[in-house]
Amino acid sequence: MTFFSLANLKRLFMILAVVAVIAVMTGTPGSSTASPTTGVHGSFLERVSWFGLFAAPRWLLFMTFGVIVWLGVSLYRPRARMIRRGIDTVLAFPKELTTKRSTRVALIVVALVVVILLPKFVHESFWMYLIVEQIGVWILLALGLNVVVGFAGLLDLGFAAFYAIGAYTTGWLTGALPTPALFHHPIPTLWVIPIGILAAMVFGVLLGTPTLRLRGDYLAIVTLGFALIIDDFVETQSGVTGGGVGSAAVPHPALNLGFWHFHWGITPTPYYYLCLVFIVIFIIVFTSLEHSRIGRAWVAIREDEVAAESVGINPLKYKVMAFTVGAASGGFGGVMSAGLVGIITPGLFTFQVSVNVLVLVIFGGMGSIWGVALGAIVIQTATSYLDNYQPWGYQINDLYMYIGALLIIMMIFRPAGLLPSRRRAREFAAAEGGEEIHTDEVLTGEQP
């Protein structure tokens, strides 16, 4: 029996170490006033009751848990291939279904019906509100960043910039900022939607043209720069943006067609539908772009920029295009959020927002529109739930710790994301197999 082989004992040790970390993560927090060891002490020695059945110190519970996991892994490993083959045969049927066009369409129709009827099932306006603000807007942001990161392969760490531009354009044009509105004539929030989208796109071109000549890490650093600049600008330029206070007076959108008036007001359901319509539009636009000449040029650049140039693709032009297109949905997210909440504060556009959007894209599956949307729904739902119910001693400050752990697990077991795009999954597989990885041998050396 390989149970007590050295490798397996090593594995037990590793699992116990991870479990110890989890015990600290979920345990009593330390505080500045108490003794510094409170946290560790509480995490391990505190007696907790298990569903009211029995009480035991935490370390005992966690260690038992670790040993059970270890036993499971030890039993699984010799049979891994058999079990995996079994899972594959079970999954083969639904997998085949989703590759068929007719079933895909049926799935989309079902999903659409569910999301249209969703407000009928969610009775609490608080949750409806969260669905729009925490899920809807974030789906928009994730879809936009997916074009940049997933389609064109550009690592953008400053996507919140476009979100901020959408929101502050709304504030500016509706007269809610200290800066007077354009021509001193505030316009209704609803009409800001196209202008906000356009403004974000213009900024996409302005920011993209000089910076997208850079590649890889360098680009990531420059986009990080955008995020920090925007963050700083909205915080400190109080004469223009309202500074740290921001603006609390963005009017809610209203539609006035003469014969028919509609005011979005404070109930969240109308915003839900507005958001839904735009999410559907963006999904349609991005999907058809993905399958157009432009989409193929993006893939070419993402896979091998030198080869793409050799067939006549101008990388800069297509990268700026990706930046601009992605900015559009980010900009709309900003308008949406400002119109819904009525408040614009710099806290909404921090670097953390950019990182969070990137997490949604990576988690959902870079380059996969449905994956990214699903990723946004899953993570944002979980976050909202955790924030509002705070189960199992969860604390808001711990959020990124859990997200970090989640991403690590994802990268190990499902690196291409929750619902990976087929092309991306192949790229990951190729990279894993060590195939087709070439250093940029034609580009080494200094250029004058």
Partner: protein
């Protein structure tokens, strides 16, 4: 220097010098390529062959000298200072020493990306899918189907590029380069890493590229048998300079070339 352009030339490079910091990669290299010929550049490792290719295709920018590309129906194009994609659009296509396919895409998609016109495309055009866009799609699909047959990858059309054998990848690269509709194609060691039978197939394919498609071929190759059987004219590079030029038989007999290839042992026999 005369601006007079000899009608049957397709590429003329004059006194190219390419430096990377203190390292001189090309020194005073001049060459002429005639329309419709198969021209080869040979030389020992590190002689500057790939640097020369990268200079002609706009990947590197030589500090001195000039390269002129004379397309059939266009004004002569001065290559230096142009971007790689502009040169590709003008009609100079290439393959790479280490194959650079889009390895997660299918064989069909790889060629299609080459066949598509990447100039006059806007966001709106790609989205609306009007008659012009659809006609473009149709045209590039036809180019792809034609090229699949030409390089013999028809049955592999839906395979992923990384699933292909080495020789098939080489042919796919040539097909992708041809898809751009070039007047001259630069092949950087097209037979590297292939087995003898694949090598033979490639030689046949390269000759057909010129004979059936009318595309001039500039070739870098290490396999002497292949070069000697294919090329009509050769340039020999060593340490970044052209040391010999001429037909295969002339070059083979040239003592300078033998020196460069056999190096010290040859000198020892002399001494």
């Amino acid at each position: 220097m005369s601006d007079q352009v000899t009608p049957d030339l397709i590429i003329r490079a004059e006194q190219l010098t390419l430096r990377f910091g203190g390292v001189v990669s090309l020194r005073d290299v001049s060459f002429e390529m005639r329309r419709g010929e198969i021209l080869a550049v040979i030389g020992p490792n590190g002689a500057g062959k790939t640097s020369l290719f990268n200079s002609v295709t706009g990947v590197y920018q030589p500090q001195e000298g000039s390269i002129t590309f004379m397309a059939r129906d266009a004004a002569p194009l001065s290559v230096i200072g142009k971007k790689a994609h502009q040169i590709a659009q003008a009609g100079v296509s290439r393959t790479f020493q280490a194959s650079r396919l889009f390895s997660a895409l299918s064989v069909f998609e790889n060629i299609k990306i080459g066949a598509e016109d990447h100039r006059g495309i806007g966001l709106v055009g790609a989205l609306v899918k009007g008659p012009r866009t659809r006609r473009g799609e149709h045209q590039s699909d036809e180019v792809v189907i034609d090229l699949l047959a030409f390089v013999g990858l028809k049955r592999e059309a839906n395979l992923i590029a990384s699933q292909l054998s080495y020789g098939a990848r080489r042919r796919l690269e040539i097909a992708r380069a041809l898809a751009t509709g070039p007047e001259v194609i630069l092949l950087d060691e097209p037979a590297a890493g292939t087995n003898p039978s694949e090598k033979l197939e490639l030689a046949v394919l390269i000759r057909r590229v010129r004979d059936e498609r009318g595309v001039s071929v500039l070739l870098i190759e290490h396999d002497m048998k292949l070069v000697m059987s294919l090329a009509e004219r050769l340039y020999v590079l060593n340490f970044g300079s052209v040391i010999a030029e001429g037909s295969p038989t002339e070059v083979r007999a040239n003592p300078v070339v033998i020196d460069a290839y056999l190096g010290s042992s040859h000198e020892e026999t002399k001494a």
